[in-house]
């Protein structure tokens, strides 16, 4: 059982949600209304994040020796804490035994800011292992200094929340939607001389109703997700149509520039790991790279004196053992850090489920609980969007081909109603649309939904329910959540315990 989490001063752990519904405060109007309508039968309890073996964070076992050999240097890149200035840290990856060792691997480690949310990938992608989701202790509190305060929406024992403004803070009629980084390099000991920047006015944005948040998504298994065939995703979209229509479930694909299905990120706004890694390196850490060479703020010339891009190809050519570059081994360069981060993520194995907590109140073993829980997951209709698995096609990394990926997502976008809407449009994804988040590893997550609004997985299920308004339609999950609430107490609890086993 995990420790108690506090959110907005309200305990959401171990408290029957019927009581929570009655306790709901007035400003949570949508949520209260929602719960009041349908939650009378909800009795399940969240056993909390699954402890024990992580079951995530390791490289795929089928990789070749050559591929596995990249694990230490690229994991180091993912863990690397960036500073504002400095030089790349280079080291020998192996002992050559033939004289001096030329630097072969250079970790990008400078270029933080001028605006940033955190200083390493692993600081936010941490639970239960590097590559994962938000840790139990919020890393952004480490960046407070005389010039930077931690915004009030961040909590020391809460999820890392990355803020976006749906509309421009100076003109609420103009869409914005971009990340507005929490911090500046001003006030840091390694600040660039004369660089003075102020943090965004989150207070004003909040008072405008113009402040939305997203928490880190885990990346385990993304290497499989990115090669799933579009055809399979579309076939799945068009399966079980009668049942989906009866439930009010639609679904839409977000579309990438080549016409394929974009599938990573909260709104499926990214097609593949590599461009996402490039974008995130700049957006979250302010480290310019060869994909995104623009500094996060160029308004003060003193803040952009680092040569750009700060993360770049290591052009160092000199090899070891007297080897000469030829067509087949060109070039001997490690690519930029963002590329290495992408390799790290690509090679992470899909999460391994754990055992269920036995629903002993109803006399069940762990196996019986999980088996029935999965059955209820399907019969309630959860699996209509949280598709249990896809199988990858033949892979050019052979071990990644023909893998059954138990991701529990259709990789499609769905309307979730005004209660979850963030008013940010990304491609096909409208302001109330979200990608079905893969549920693999959900048993180990501390916070749920895009903005980490709850640490209780039962509440997370209930939060899928939302009535529509003049702006957005009802949530596509409403019928399924109603079915969940109609389950017997035992079936509900088994379903919950099943989820926590993932």
């Amino acid at each position: 059982m995990a420790e108690k989490k506090i959110w907005h001063g309200e305990s959401k752990r171990g408290l029957p949600s019927r009581a929570r519904g009655l306790l709901g405060l007035g400003f949570l109007g949508c949520w209260v209304l929602t719960v009041g309508v349908f939650a009378s039968a909800q009795t399940a309890t969240d056993p909390g994040p699954r402890t024990g073996t992580a079951g995530a964070g390791s490289f795929q076992s089928g990789l070749t020796t050559n591929e596995k050999n990249f694990e230490p240097p690229i994991a180091g890149q993912f863990d690397q804490a960036f500073s504002v200035t400095g030089t790349p840290a280079c080291y020998c990856t192996t002992s050559t035994g033939t004289g001096s060792c030329a630097p072969q691997t250079c970790q990008s480690q400078f270029g933080l800011g001028p605006r940033f949310n955190s200083n390493s990938c692993a600081s936010c992608h941490a639970q239960p292992a590097p590559g994962g989701s938000s840790p139990s202790s919020n890393p952004v509190f480490g960046f407070a200094n005389p010039s930077n305060t931690v915004p009030s929406f961040e909590q020391a024992n809460g999820p890392v929340l990355v803020p976006r403004f749906p509309y421009q803070i100076s003109d609420l009629s103009v869409p914005d939607g971009l990340v507005h980084q929490l911090f500046t390099i001003t006030g840091r000991s390694d600040n660039l001389p004369g660089c003075t920047l102020t943090q965004p006015n989150f207070t004003q944005a909040g008072s405008q109703g113009n402040l939305v948040f997203r928490q880190p998504l885990p990346t385990f298994g993304d290497g499989y997700i990115e090669i799933i065939e579009n055809t399979d995703i579309l076939n799945n979209l068009n399966s079980n149509l009668a049942q989906k229509q009866a439930y009010g479930i639609g679904g839409a694909a977000n579309i990438a520039d080549d016409g394929s299905i974009s599938r990573l990120g909260w709104k499926a706004q990214w097609r593949a790991i590599l461009p996402a890694a490039g974008a995130e390196e700049n957006v979250e850490m302010g480290v310019t790279n060869e994909m995104f060479p623009t500094e996060t703020d160029q308004s003060n010339p003193s803040c952009v004196t680092n040569p750009v891009p700060e993360d770049y190809t290591n052009y160092a050519y000199t090899g070891v053992n007297g080897q000469v570059s030829t067509y087949t081994n060109f070039p001997w360069n490690f690519p930029e850090g963002a590329d290495r981060d992408a390799i790290f993520i690509r090679f992470l194995e899909q999460p391994t489920p754990g055992t269920c907590i036995a629903d002993t109140a109803f006399g069940e073993t762990a196996a019986q609980t999980c088996s029935n829980g999965q059955q209820q997951f399907k019969s309630a209709g959860c699996a209509l969007c949280h598709t249990v698995s896809y199988t990858t096609p033949a892979g050019s990394i052979p071990s990644m081909g023909h893998i059954k990926a138990y991701l529990y997502s259709d990789l499609l976008l769905h309307h979730m109603g005004p209660c979850l809407a963030d008013n940010v449009v990304q491609g096909v994804a409208q302001g109330d649309m979200w990608r079905t988040p893969p549920l693999w590893n959900v048993g180990q997550r501390y916070w749920f939904l895009h903005d980490g609004r709850t640490n209780n997985i039962v509440t997370a299920i209930e939060d899928h329910y939302c009535t529509g308004n003049s702006q957005y339609p009802i949530s596509e999950a409403n019928q399924v959540v109603t079915k969940f609430n109609g389950l017997s107490a035992q079936n509900q609890q088994d379903l919950i315990n099943f989820l926590r086993s993932l």
Partner: protein, 518 residues
Amino acid sequence: MPSYAGKSLVPKSLFRAILVIPPLALLSLTLATAAKAQTATDPGPRPCKPSDCAGGFISGLTTDQALMKQQGSNFFAEVNLIAGGTNIKRVGLGPRFDANSCNSCHAGPANGGSSLGFNVTPIASGTLCPDGTSITTPQGNQLFAQYQGCGAVNTMPFFEQTNGPTVVARMPFRSDLVTPDGHVHQLFTITGRSDAGTCNIQQPDFETAYAEGNLIFRNTTPFFGGGLVEIIRDSDIIANMMAELTQKMALGISGHPNLNGDDGSVNRFGWKAQKRSLILFNGEAYNVENGISNEFFPNELDETPGCTPPFPDGPASGGNGTHGVPDDRADYASLPTPGYLMPGDPERFAIFGRFLAAPVPGQCVADSAFGETAAQTCSNGQTQFNNTGCVLCHTQSFTTPPSSVGALGGQQVNLYSDLLVHDLGPCDADNVTQGSATGDQFRTTPLWGVGQRYYFMHDGGLNRHGLMPETNIVQAIEDHYCVGNTQYPNSEANGVITNFNNLSPMNQQDLVNFLRSL
């Protein structure tokens, strides 16, 4: 001299406007309004001399960087097969594709450039198929060398011409003509090729799409100087946008950046400024144009059974069949020593593009009819270019900030573009929206190297001129003029074109000769 359907196109014509056939009523109206004073003659593409031809590399590269640039060039020129190539980096073509290598289209006047000019022989020639047959490489449009290469059963789409621009096709709308599409529809398939296994798919129905007004074309954009363009600061681009506002407003010029949806930066590559950087551009193009799935776009363009990997190794194989998706990826086994990593081809193409030098201007053709020397012509031509207002969008230069590739930093970049997108009116509208670039908006095309280009405007003239290639730079200037309609506003260039048409014959000619010196 280029021709289409047996008709001489008279590339240096003074009189194209009055030769225009009736179906192009809108064009006639436009020219009647704007072009009455047009008297200049296009001297034609400037011959490519070693001293002033694009395609060289930037100076000041380190030894390591210099060693990579030529390798990058080789990869850029590699001809991709479906399977059975001699190297893992040379497989994965299709199942749908426009061309089999980058420099099929980025060819003129050198690797990394634009469409190869008419009657120009390409640098590379002779491609071996897996079955031992070779593809002969003709002059001009390189697609004619490929479309039935290695046994493929493609027909050549009617809009491609041996002496025309190498264009790709997009359909603004889906077949219902209502739902936006906008994506590239590849010209060819691998069906019938000796290395294509059992793949059997059809080419798109371009005739129907064209008849429905749902087929638009895009010529190839050159990469010269790309490494400089990608690091120009957004703040400099925005400051330039905000400069000389009074004059811009008087002429009806505005313009705005196409902002990247990820980090909010100013996108700047492609006809609609839809791409932020060379790597991202290459990742898309490698799949969209060559059908080679990669770490940016990992799946095949068509997943019909039999058309996706694995494909069997061909007879000439060294064991390098296409084993799965993505076709192209980092090569983790390139050396026995761990720690050496070959990145994917998009990154390597980007090294090539990043190190390509800016085009080198050449001499003006002297306007001897008015007694001018070459130097006088160029000097006055540039003055007229500035005075008419061309330069308000075709910004002469930006300066790069310090760069981690030292040779790219602190450079004056004479690109002649503001890197913004502008309304060009319904005449050139392609009805494709990309980011904040709407159906009639295009990025100000950088004019460096324009003196050596054969085809102008985003479509090489094909959409606007009834499939006739646009080879005349004077016509290209005039085509910036367009009257708005209910769907799209006036072209932002109208005031400037009127200024151009009001210039004296000498000033007009000098301006044109100046452009051809770039």
